[in-house]
């Protein structure tokens, strides 16, 4: 019994680790898409954040400066995204693709030139990384049956950014649902004309939404390169930005369901690593690739309206043109 409980806890633990970047990115996508800006650049902004974090942390030896660099760079990309889509009313999808591709090339190019390690940036010392935090009492907790190991294995022992992601969920949900900024942000994604008529700037609101999304993508990137892993490697986001986008749609553009979808996808990923080659009851051995494709298939089914119906914010993807 204890062994099974421990296995379950370890599975939950790795689910949390894998879900963290997804949660940050899904919240980022939530903020920008609810404001009416399609954000398929989550992948690129997160990768940019990972690169900047590793580069700054490798040079300065400080994880905090790395975190700052990640957020700054991701916000700069968000500004570029805004400049193209809000100021110049460019095609939102095209600009997202552009940012993804530029960053996918720029990271390895600069890493290669500056650090000379074939597109990688290794971190020098342990100070350059966010270390696991032992919560108070975690050392003695396993002595307590059932709940003790849960506290020690799943709740305690993560790095700062994991806890930040946990805190970000209610914060973003509260901002969106309860604050004046959140109300306006949702309004600008549904009916920018009404927001404009009320005398509130559409452009400024959308910029604010994109910038807060950029900040969250920066956190996700920093998590990948200076917390979960020690350094930057090419394409280290490996589609996580798109997975987060799928989670956002699967959660029907609402914070709590989107985060639950992130947890579901992360759980599938964590289970997949453990299940490799092990036959399951009723279905036999499930190929790894089937589990990898599962989130995307589920999202496709949802988009097709076969499981519920996902209704996008009404003004999503439409640049706002003020009537003259």
């Amino acid at each position: 019994m204890d062994a099974i409980w421990l296995q379950t806890l370890l599975l939950a633990d790795s689910t949390v680790r894998l879900a963290t970047p997804l949660v940050f990115c899904a919240l980022a996508g939530l903020l920008s898409e609810r404001a009416g800006v399609v954000n398929i650049a989550l992948e690129g902004k997160m990768l940019g954040g990972a690169f900047a974090a590793a580069a700054a942390a490798a040079v300065t030896g400080s994880a905090w400066i790395g975190l700052l660099a990640a957020c700054t760079f991701a916000c700069a990309l968000a500004l570029l995204h805004g400049f193209a889509t809000i100021t110049h009313r460019g095609e939102q999808v095209v600009s997202g693709v552009a940012i993804n591709i530029v960053v996918a090339g720029l990271g390895p190019t600069l890493a290669d030139a500056w650090f000379g390690q074939a597109g990688r940036i290794p971190l020098p010392g342990s100070d350059a990384r966010f270390a696991p935090i032992e919560l108070p009492g975690a050392g003695g907790a396993p002595a307590i049956p059932v709940l003790g190991p849960l506290y020690a294995e799943v709740v305690s022992g993560h790095n700062l950014l994991v806890y930040l992601a946990v805190a970000a969920v209610p914060t973003v949900a509260w901002i969106l649902a309860k604050t004046r900024f959140g109300l306006r942000l949702r309004a600008v994604g549904e009916s920018p004309e009404a927001v404009d008529t009320a005398g509130i700037g559409v452009e400024a609101l959308r910029y604010a939404a994109l910038l807060s999304a950029g900040l969250l993508c920066g956190l996700a990137g920093a998590y990948l390169s200076i917390a979960q892993n020690a350094g930057f490697i090419r394409d280290m986001t490996a589609g996580k930005g798109f997975l987060a986008l799928a989670a956002l749609i699967f959660g029907k553009w609402r914070p709590v369901p989107a985060v639950l979808a992130c947890l579901l996808f992360a759980f599938a990923d964590a289970a997949q690593v453990r299940l490799q080659g092990t036959p399951l009851p009723f279905v036999g051995t499930v190929p790894t690739q089937a589990i990898q494709a599962l989130p995307y298939l589920l999202t496709l089914l949802l988009l097709a309206g076969f499981v519920g119906r996902a209704v996008a914010p009404r003004a999503l993807g439409r640049p706002y043109v003020k009537d003259r």
Partner: protein, 366 residues
């Protein structure tokens, strides 16, 4: 996506793309300076690497062929008002279609086996794009999102098939057996040698002609056929199309399927023309570069030929450059592709608005 331009044709078709390209090149040059190399020397090496000798030209044309297929694929969907980011997955599935034919009927005489394999590539690529087209037309799902999802599903499916099903028996490397030589698309080297150009070991093959035929067919289809007209009407305004008695759903499905078939033909060049077996990840990002090619080429075959040649040269010249200047990695080419998409696509209004102002002011003055 297609808005009426108030600019003279030469500004629209030549000056604007040139300006967009120039600013992308300028920023790429800045990155080279940031790395600490001389950008002008880099350009020289790149041009020599792409066109300096026979084998380089052969490789440039080989990559150009890939970009022609994916560029046409993106452009066709654009004309119907859709953004097909699924070229990567459709091309991957095209590889499966070509491979299945090649493995089963590859021994048939070339005049039978090659067209069959080409059809297999087009069919599978088209089928993979039919799904997003159908989902949009009948269930209202957004093409951008569904094509992204389909890319990931394609990657997982192909990995599974190559690793577990199609792999050559008794080996570890995830790739199929070599196809029978009868189904190989013949290389261009013998032909060009008779014309006095030595292409060396470059993999460029007769798929290049297939791509050029596709360009012609694209033009005739989009601008000279009844269906092409319907396609463009739907792309401009679905409401107008319905009013004119055109069914946008049907048009979208056909347009997406044809777009996927064009992307699937990438496999003819890569798999039947060069690799002669199915390998993992042979699509290598060409599907995404197709977006840059279509944007740069203004969705017209002539523009697409020029843009594909440009990107083919960048690809080949870029790898030579990375060899000659070790400080510059091959990823620099990816940066340039991204910058072209940024300036030719996302920021296309950056120069358009000032130019339109200038033109209207000149007209008033006259």
């Amino acid at each position: 996506m297609g808005c009426a331009s108030r600019l003279p044709a030469w500004v629209e078709l030549a000056l604007l793309p040139a300006l967009n390209l120039a600013i992308a090149a300028l920023i790429a040059g800045l990155v080279v300076v940031l790395i600490g190399e001389d950008p002008l020397e880099a350009v020289g090496l790149l041009v020599y690497g792409a066109f300096g000798y026979g084998e380089a030209i052969g490789y440039t044309l080989f990559y150009t062929t890939n970009f022609l297929f994916t560029g046409l694929a993106v452009a066709l969907a654009f004309h119907a008002g859709h953004f097909n980011i699924g070229g990567e997955g459709q091309a991957y599935l095209g590889g499966l279609g070509a491979t299945l034919v090649a493995l089963h009927w590859g021994q048939l005489p070339s005049p039978i086996s090659i067209p069959l394999a080409v059809a297999g590539a087009a069919l599978f690529g088209g089928a993979w794009a039919f799904v997003p087209g159908w989902l949009y037309a009948r269930r209202g799902s957004h093409v951008v999102i569904t094509t992204i999802m389909m890319n990931f599903v394609a990657a997982a499916l192909m990995t599974y098939l190559v690793v577990n099903v199609l792999i050559k028996p008794g080996q570890q490397i995830p790739e199929t057996d070599i196809f029978a030589p009868t189904v190989w698309v013949p290389p261009l080297a013998p032909l060009s040698a008779s014309l006095g150009l030595d292409l060396g070991r470059a993999p460029v093959n007769h798929s290049l002609f297939l791509a050029l035929v596709c360009c012609l067919a694209f033009w005739a289809f989009v601008w000279r056929s009844r269906f092409g007209y319907e396609l463009r009407v739907v792309g401009k305004s679905e409401a107008a199309a319905i009013y004119a008695g055109i069914a946008p759903g049907r048009v979208t499905i056909v347009a997406m399927t044809l777009s996927g078939a064009l992307a699937g033909l990438l496999a003819v060049n890569e798999i039947l023309g060069s690799q002669h077996r199915l390998v993992l990840g042979f699509t290598g990002g060409y599907g995404f570069v197709g977006i840059a090619v279509a944007l740069m080429g203004r969705n017209h075959p002539v523009g697409i030929v020029l843009a594909a040649l440009l990107f083919g040269a960048l690809y080949q010249g870029g790898s030579e450059l990375a060899f000659d200047m070790p400080e510059i990695s091959r990823d620099m080419v990816v940066v340039i592709q991204g910058l072209v998409i940024l300036f030719a696509g996302a920021l296309e209004h950056l120069f358009r608005a000032p130019l339109e102002n200038l033109v209207s002011r000149l007209q008033v003055a006259r």
